[in-house]
Amino acid sequence: MSERRVEAWLWVAQRATAAGLALFVLVHLVTIIYAVRAGLGAAAILARVHSSLAWPVFYALFVLFAAVHGAIGLRTIAAEWLGWRGNGANAAAALIAVALLAAGWRAVLAVSS
């Protein structure tokens, strides 16, 4: 795949994940505000997350979108503000995406099992 095509697809991924994150963040914030009315406690949070498979799936997708979106954004910032482009910057961005995915999914797995 040509460099131009890769850039175009990265742009699509950035826009699509941004649209997804808008929804994820909204649901997340509304849930937090609703949930803390009865006080904030680990037990309540775990009870909610364990209540259905939907929550772990929701947060697993949230993590995926955030990892993709964040890594592409950081790659752009590296290119524009630091002048860092090419294979090194691409590898660093990919590494950040993998690290975010690993850390995020590990957390989702930890609270849902």
């Binding site: 040509s2 131009r4 850039e7 175009a8 697809w9 990265l10 290119a79 524009e80 482009r85």
Partner: protein
Amino acid sequence: METLKVEVWRGGADGKYQSFEVPRRASQTVLDVVTHIQRFVDPTLAYRFARRVGMCGSCAMTVNGKPRWTCRTHVDEVAANGRLELAPLANLPIVRDLVADMREFFDKWARARGQFTPTATRKDDFAKVDPRSNARREADAAIECIGCGVCYAACDVVKWNPGYLGPAALNRAWTLQMDARDGAHAERLASVAGDAGCHSCHTMMSCTERCPKQLSPTRSIAGLKRASLLRLLAGDGDEA
């Protein structure tokens, strides 16, 4: 007589500002101020202009930190506290004084496939383009560019990414994409994709804010992004 204090960039990239006192006049434009300096104070001052009526796009400069066409910019509008600071357009190499090197700016028009690619010959009849068609309206909205370079100088993405084609070249590409007579739509779309092209635009709209012709290169670039997305989803190749 009331005077205006004018700081003018002199020399090349390593130059500095020089101060001039210029008589203040009614309905005075920034170009009038520069011309006064060149005619009556220092004939070695280099600057560009041709018509003084807002058509040719040659007199653009940085006026108090913002790119503007100087022939249609009145001193009244911009000279805060009776002071003017004039420099060549940003994001372009400086030739001397107020003259920027426009080569890269226009080379990028060519790189964005800013040339019309005909599909008919002189033996064919005139093409019939419905003025109410969507494509014709889109082209109309973007076609009046005078190539002054103000948008290019205002664009932060150009500053950060020297390869970026810039608002004017992409706006030009969009008018040709919307031209039913043009035969290079697929190739042009490939030329304006990617890191140097429409996908690098952050929609900050400095180009649209500063365009002296009130065009919206941002809108044109958004059109290119949409067209490019449709083409990607259709799985077309990117011959260019």
